[in-house]
């Protein structure tokens, strides 16, 4: 024996039929504790033989028979007919003994006949028969009155928040306990006192938190099976459970027994709280422990089983009422949320743009969830942040990390209220984005909408430091002791946002569907329009092809007849008539050029492209020498082609056409510069950040007014009809078309020699 043997450790060893891991409360097998609280005795009857096999040592006190005298005796010898008659009834009922309990029976204790409550429960192959005091003063009418008062009060409550305080008050009235708390569990089963009613002079516990370790897992499981738990008097020791030698290694599971002994660790815990007596009623919601009615009394107090049953009933009413109110509240909130969601969906459909749709309306991405600091959207290669957001790449890094770790929930949503803790890179953004929720719109995780919540210094007032202590159990083994100190302990949690509630996550998920549906609708619309456009374009090209050819026939007729006229009747015509014939010719010529250009344009738009590495310099040189024959002033123009023009990926035929049109355009509009020099230059600027290699054709000549720099690329647009320069106004439209087909861009600037046409091509970049 050690000098200072730890009593609790010793008890723990004695109370359980097998070795107990003392270091972990979660492993204490409390349902197998082999002891019974002093306020009752327990007799376990083997069902097969209806013989007593277990009995607590205190049977004499409660039943007037010693435990030794009843072990291995048939049940008829131990209990009166009042009790035994109920056994076959209970065994044959679907709900067992639930509605039969308590059975009131008289026991002869010493010389007195005493009325007792007998409570029978079945546990595997045994009947657990508990005998405890029956309160003489509790008449049926009084009990019903209390019950109906409690229920009426609870049912009258309309406001969710009042429900708790009022219920606590009602319970205290009914039970007379010093303190009645409504104790609610969070997701980790830390408990918080959300309401209480207490005797005057007691310190308030409301708002205090209790760590989940205070009510370990197996205790919570027991609460689900046996919802009322009375610990009547911690000052009186429990009574050990004795067993018959005939049961071998069988240990009794006491889950169903209300008088099941109390874990020494828990007794120690209550001792530190100065609580002598506790009564708890489990509140169960959807099969989960929602919370407890936790009642404390600072002196011994026995609560009659009828009242305990009543409390159980009140707990059920409360739980039902809670569900109802939560459902109502949820319905109202989800109605509001759905309205917001639908409005956003409509806005997306209307604006045909996810960015617009999520931001333009009264309901928008920023007010969808309460307390968000900002939002961000990444969609189809576009990114935009609203109010405040961590840098885009950090969010994408986070997404990559999440994906590595088994991916977001159902691949649809990710949420975290302390992202900086799991993803240290985000720590520095905790102020504005401690909480992050992201919905994913595509399977590649490249399209998403994210919301951010600011970090709040979150304070939790623990009822004592939420750590259990290791206690030296005396023989070199340490055991985990309960918390000793219940001094308020305020913990500040940083880098944590308000949590994303289930409702908010649900809303985000349905918003995701709404966005996708709206986008799909938009896409199908766009696709339809595209198809129509493509068809129209094809039709137009067929049309211009046909028309161009058909137009040529009458032109030939005009031309031919005028020529014949001139040839055959020339001698009859005067100079004026011959001039008219010439004018007819030039009109026809112009018309012919129009037709050629329109045909060219329709050709540029259609047909496949064959991409090659094209060297622009030889193409330009070829075009220039061709055009020098056409434009009379070309000989006087100083032409310069930059050496080593970088190759470009393009369709060679179209590229040639591009240079042909740009250079002939330059020749047409060439005018001498201030020094009287005529010049044309072809070159390129090397690629620089973000900008691909840009090619240009520049010539001396008047600047193009700002307002025309875009319209000159439109069909039949010519700067001025007064200009002497000839042209159909289609040439630059063809240039624009060619550049577009190469996913490039063409624009005009007034620099270099005077007027400059710049372009770049990036045929592989289909996103443009």
């Amino acid at each position: 024996m050690h000098a200072h043997e730890d009593l609790v450790a010793q008890q723990l060893r004695n109370l359980y039929p097998f070795k107990v891991n003392l270091e972990n409360c979660d492993e204490e097998p409390i349902r197998y504790i082999q002891s019974i609280q002093a306020h009752a005795c327990l007799v376990a009857v083997e069902l097969d033989t209806l013989t007593v096999r277990f009995a607590s040592e205190n049977t004499m006190q409660h039943m007037g028979k010693s435990w030794k005298s009843i072990l291995d005796r048939p049940i008829q010898e131990v209990f009166s007919f009042e009790v035994t008659a109920q056994i076959p009834v209970g065994l044959n009922r679907e709900d067992g003994f639930e509605t039969l309990n308590p059975i009131q029976a008289f026991f002869t204790i010493g010389s007195e006949r005493v009325l007792k409550n007998v409570i029978i429960n079945r546990s595997d192959d045994y009947l657990l028969i508990e005998v405890e005091a029956a309160s003489q003063f509790l008449h049926a009418s009084r009990y019903q009155q209390l019950l109906s008062r409690a229920i009426t009060k609870i049912q009258r409550l309309r406001e969710y928040d009042n429900l708790f305080t009022e219920t606590a008050a009602v319970l205290r009235q009914v039970t007379g306990y010093d303190r009645v708390m409504i104790y609610k569990f969070d997701e980790e089963y830390n408990g918080e006192v959300i309401a209480e009613a207490r005797r005057e002079g007691l310190e308030p516990f409301e708002g205090l938190r209790y760590p989940h370790t205070d009510i370990p897992k197996q205790a919570r499981e027991l609460y689900l099976k046996n919802r009322v738990r009375l610990i009547s008097d911690t000052s009186t020791p429990s009574s050990p459970l004795r067993r018959s030698d005939n049961v071998g290694d069988h240990y009794l599971d006491l889950t169903a027994a209300g008088s099941r002994g109390v874990s020494p660790v828990h007794v120690e815990y209550l001792g530190y709280l100065n609580v002598n007596n506790s009564l708890s009623v489990a509140i169960v919601q959807e099969g989960k422990l929602w919370g407890l009615f936790a009642m404390h009394h600072y002196s011994p107090r026995f609560v009659d089983v009828s009242i305990r049953n009543m409390l159980l009933f009140v707990g059920q009413i409360f739980s039902g009422h809670l569900s109802l109110q939560m459902a109502n509240r949820y319905r109202q909130e989800s109605l509001n949320r759905n309205l917001a969601r639908l409005a956003i969906g409509e806005m997306i459909t209307k604006t045909r743009d996810i960015f617009e749709g999520l931001t333009a309306g009264t309901h928008n991405v920023l007010n969808m969830f309460q307390g968000t600091s900002g939002a961000a959207i990444q969609f189809d290669g576009r990114y935009q942040q609203f109010r405040s957001a961590p840098p885009q790449e950090k969010i994408n890094d986070l997404i990559a990390l999440v994906r590595e770790n088994n991916g977001p929930e159902n691949n649809l949503i990710f949420h975290h209220d302390r992202a900086g803790k799991t993803y240290p890179d985000l720590q520095q953004y905790s102020d504005s984005a401690a909480g992050i929720m992201i919905i994913f719109l595509n399977a590649e995780f490249t399209d998403w909408v994210a919301w951010f919540r600011p970090g709040i210094s979150h304070t939790i007032t623990w009822a004592g430091k939420p750590e259990k202590e290791m206690v030296d159990s005396g023989d070199g083994v340490r055991r985990l002791g309960p918390r000793k100190s219940f001094q308020r302990y305020v913990e500040t949690v940083d880098g944590c946002s308000a949590p994303w509630t289930k409702e908010e996550i649900d809303l985000a998920l349905s918003l995701r569907i709404t966005i996708i549906n709206s986008l799909m609708q938009r896409y199908s619309e766009v696709k339809q329009v595209n198809d129509q456009l493509r068809k129209a374009l094809e039709d137009l090209e067929t049309f211009s092809y046909t028309v161009s050819h058909d137009l040529r026939a009458p032109l030939r007729a005009i031309n031919g007849y005028t020529e014949i006229l001139a040839e055959d009747y020339g001698q009859h015509l005067d100079d004026d008539a011959r001039l008219i014939i010439q004018k007819i010719h030039s009109g026809v010529e112009q018309m012919n050029n129009f037709i050629t250009d329109i045909l060219e344009l329709s050709r540029v738009g259609s047909g496949g492209m064959q991409l090659d590495e094209v060297a622009p310099a030889p193409l330009a040189a070829e075009v220039i020498s061709e055009l020098q024959g056409v434009y009379p002033n070309a000989e006087r123009v100083a032409v310069n082609i930059q050496r080593n023009l970088p190759v470009v990926r393009a369709d060679k035929r179209l590229m040639r056409q591009l240079y042909l049109n740009l250079i002939s355009n330059a020749f047409k509009y060439l005018e001498p510069d201030a020094s009287g020099k005529l010049a044309l230059s072809i070159g390129a600027r090397p690629a620089s950040e973000g900008e691909p290699t840009t090619y240009y054709v520049t010539n001396t000549g008047p600047a193009i007014p700002e307002e025309y720099t875009r319209t000159i690329f439109e069909m039949f647009s010519r700067l001025s009809s007064q200009t002497k320069a000839e042209g159909t106004g289609v040439g630059l439209a063809i240039v624009d078309r060619i550049v577009q087909r190469h996913n490039g861009k063409v624009w005009v600037t007034n620099d270099h020699l005077g007027v400059t046409f710049n372009f770049f091509l990036s045929p592989e970049n289909t996103a443009r």
């Binding site: 092809y545 050819h549 040529r552 026939a553 032109l555 030939r556 007729a557 031309n559 031919g560 020529e563 014949i564 040839e567 026809v588 012919n592």
Partner: protein, 142 residues
């Protein structure tokens, strides 16, 4: 005895007239047999009983109502009696695919209708010189 005939299938009266006029300006012009469409051309050619008496050359416009020049061409080239008669396709189109198609069908030449009468006259002159005066490819000539 050579017939010195040219068959022209052309639905456009003006184009046909220009052709006739251009032809008539030649020295000793060949005779022009003008058919207003493809069907008429085939019927006309069917009336020639002997292969040797067929026109020296057929010129077919592509776009004609009823039967296009290419269809006529195909029929002529698949008929043993007419397959050796030179056929020139004439069109206002200079689309490369149109030209290629004509040769695929077996055309012996492809001409783009000139927009100037003067050019047409020169063209007709050269056709006459090559296909009528100097061409000795026809089996009937051997």
């Amino acid at each position: 005895m050579y017939t010195n005939q040219i068959l022209l299938a052309e639905d456009d009266t003006t184009d046909a007239e220009f052709f006739q006029r251009a032809l008539s300006r030649l020295d000793s012009p060949p005779e022009l047999v003008w058919c207003k469409n493809g069907v008429e051309a085939l019927e006309g050619l069917a009336s020639y009983t002997e292969a040797a008496s067929l026109p020296r050359l057929a010129i077919l416009d592509i776009k004609m109502p009823g039967m296009s020049g290419l269809e006529v061409l195909e029929k002529l080239k698949s008929d043993a009696r007419t397959k050796d008669m030179p056929v020139i396709i004439m069109s206002s189109s200079d689309e490369p695919q149109d030209i290629a198609r004509a040769y695929d069908y077996g055309a012996n030449g492809y001409l783009v209708k000139p927009s100037r009468f003067q050019d047409l006259r020169e063209l007709v002159g050269s056709i006459n010189y090559f296909w009528i005066k100097t061409n000795r490819l026809r089996p009937a000539d051997s």
